[in-house]
């Protein structure tokens, strides 16, 4: 199925519904920016970004919302190399959402200008929401006089 807008062309792989009757649109990650540009033109706004670790690949789920027609749509892409295009050029809301998903899930948003950790310290090792993250390895945080946070595996070097 191919759709042509004014100047956009993207391919919808499949459409389905989740259990709460929200429409799911599966697209390729290379079409994401074009697709979202088209939907932004239709009056949609970004509501949330979710990363899901499926062990062999990552799924990134975007919920977009139209305040006029009350439509809520789920857009799903998948990536095997952790990289997806950034939407910060389209919506400001993407800025923090993408930082959060990078921090906790390790999704790398290409084109994000300030892609650093948002809730964990900058030096933290690993992304906790990954299924492969080792929960038994405790990391201890300390702060130097300048206010920079440091992370260590040694429990005497932090709290």
């Amino acid at each position: 199925m191919k759709r042509t807008g004014d100047s956009t062309m993207y391919k919808i792989i499949s459409e389905s519904e989740d259990k709460n009757k929200i429409k799911i649109i599966n697209i390729d990650k290379n079409d994401l920016v074009e697709f979202m540009e088209d939907y932004k033109g239709k009056g949609y706004y970004l509501s949330s970004i979710t990363g899901v670790d499926m062990k062999d690949h990552l799924e990134v789920i975007y919920h977009i919302h139209n305040y006029d027609t009350h439509e809520y749509i789920e857009v799903k892409i998948s990536t095997t190399d952790d990289k997806v295009p950034s939407l910060t050029k389209l919506w400001k809301a993407a800025e923090w959402d993408e930082r959060e998903q990078y921090d906790l899930m390790g999704v790398i948003f290409e084109g994000h200008e300030n892609l650093r950790r948002i809730v964990l310290p900058d030096e933290w090792v690993g992304h906790p929401l990954r299924k492969s993250y080792d929960l038994k390895k405790v990391q201890y945080i300390s702060m130097d006089p300048e206010g920079k946070e440091h992370v260590s595996y040694n429990e005497n070097e932090g709290w």
């Binding site: 979710t50 899901v52 670790d53 305040y67 009350h70 789920e74 400001k92 809301a93 906790l104 929401l129």
Partner: protein, 367 residues
């Protein structure tokens, strides 16, 4: 020549509603830029949820927006029950709705009281907390918990309403209605309140939408969006209430709007108390002995209107007893991200009232 001062506010500061850090770039007293550091209350509740049974996760949702625990539970349960195809008895849904609205009143009271406290108004704070205490007494009667209630469970609620609870709620509402007007006029007749807030914290609707802002902050900018009307969950389509909006776009407009929403919440509770039917208060498929054996498969996203805005929960199951992924769309997380825009060009003292009028809860931002 440009000469800047950098000022750190937080992480521990009495007037920023929790532990987060603002790094403010100042030119004399004018704010040039605000940088926000989060994560001081981060517990990674999303990961903890993956390690637990579906029924156990309720307590972690209680502690997200800890002032509005009932609404957090509703948010999680609407998603999980869809995932499990679990039907909720009508009586349980009405009970949930009454509790959610009562908790909205309680959370709003804390917000308003603390907002006054930020400006040095000590009196309204105490009056707000006296009233909130009465709501918490009702929660204790129903659930045993004061703030982190853990009242609802998958497929119903933990304990049925008895006549005393219904009487208590009716009596509370009767006393609360004039009391709310007193609290309201305490603010509105204060000249300092007007001077500090009139025209401060202007948020344009297009900026608000761009940043994903929801809740009173968005309605205060003139966009009539409320999940309860937009995509009604539970029985919000069976009660009459209005969605107030404000075109003033500033702190005063938002304050008046929040109080008006409380009046609408009272309307909802009053109608719900009359409509609550007899019947079971939990689904037999999810009775206590079966609760840990509930399986979820597929994916579901639900959204509800919490005190701060649109609270969304994404749950994915893989056919086992534990969820594969839980994600929370936190309204306060989006609302706080717009502070740099609202504060730009204002005085440093205005930053405090702007944060106060947004009324965020850090437990929900950091999760």
């Amino acid at each position: 020549m440009a000469h800047y001062t950098e000022l750190n506010i937080g992480p521990i500061h009495p007037s920023i509603h929790g532990i987060l850090k603002f790094k403010v770039k100042l030119q004399e007293e004018i704010i040039e830029d605000v940088e926000i550091t989060l994560g001081f209350l981060h517990r990674n509740a999303e990961k903890i949820c993956e390690l637990n049974y579906y029924a156990d996760n309720m307590v972690y949702f209680d502690r997200m927006d800890y002032l509005d625990a009932m609404n957090m539970e509703v948010g999680y349960l609407t998603a999980v029950e869809k995932l499990m195809d679990m039907e909720v008895p009508e009586r349980a849904q009405w009970i949930r709705m009454i509790m959610a609205e009562l908790n909205r009143l309680g959370a709003r009271l804390v917000g308003l009281g603390a907002f006054g406290l930020d400006m040095g108004m000590l009196t309204p704070f105490f009056h707000c907390f006296i009233e909130r205490e009465k709501i918490q007494k009702i929660f204790v009667e129903a659930s045993g918990g004061r703030q982190e209630v853990n009242y609802m469970s998958i497929g119903g609620v933990y304990q049925d309403f008895n006549d005393q609870i219904i009487n208590d709620i009716r009596e509370f509402l009767k006393e609360f209605k004039p009391y709310l007007e007193d609290i309201y006029s305490m603010f509105m007749h204060s000249e300092i309140f007007w001077q500090r807030n009139d025209g401060v914290g202007i948020l344009e609707p297009d900026v608000a939408l761009d940043y994903g802002v929801t809740g009173p902050l968005l309605r205060g900018s003139g966009v009539a969006y409320d999940v309860r009307k937009d995509a009604p969950y539970m029985f919000y389509d069976k009660v009459n209430f209005d969605i107030p909006i404000s075109h003033k776009k500033d702190n005063i407009g938002r304050f008046i709007l929040k109080v008006e929403e409380m009046r609408q919440s009272i309307r909802i509770i009053e109608q719900s108390l009359d409509k609550i039917p007899d019947g079971p208060y939990f689904n037999n498929k999810a009775k206590k002995s079966m609760m840990l054996r509930l399986k979820g498969d597929g994916e579901a996203f639900s959204r509800i209107e919490s005190d701060n805005g649109e609270f969304g929960v994404y749950v994915r199951g893989n056919g086992t007893f534990k969820p594969w992924r839980v994600h929370v769309r936190s309204p306060a997380f989006k609302n706080i991200s717009v502070v740099p825009v609202m504060a730009k060009g204002m005085m440093i003292a205005d930053l405090i009232v702007i944060i106060g009028s947004i009324d965020t809860v850090i437990g929900e931002i950091d999760r």
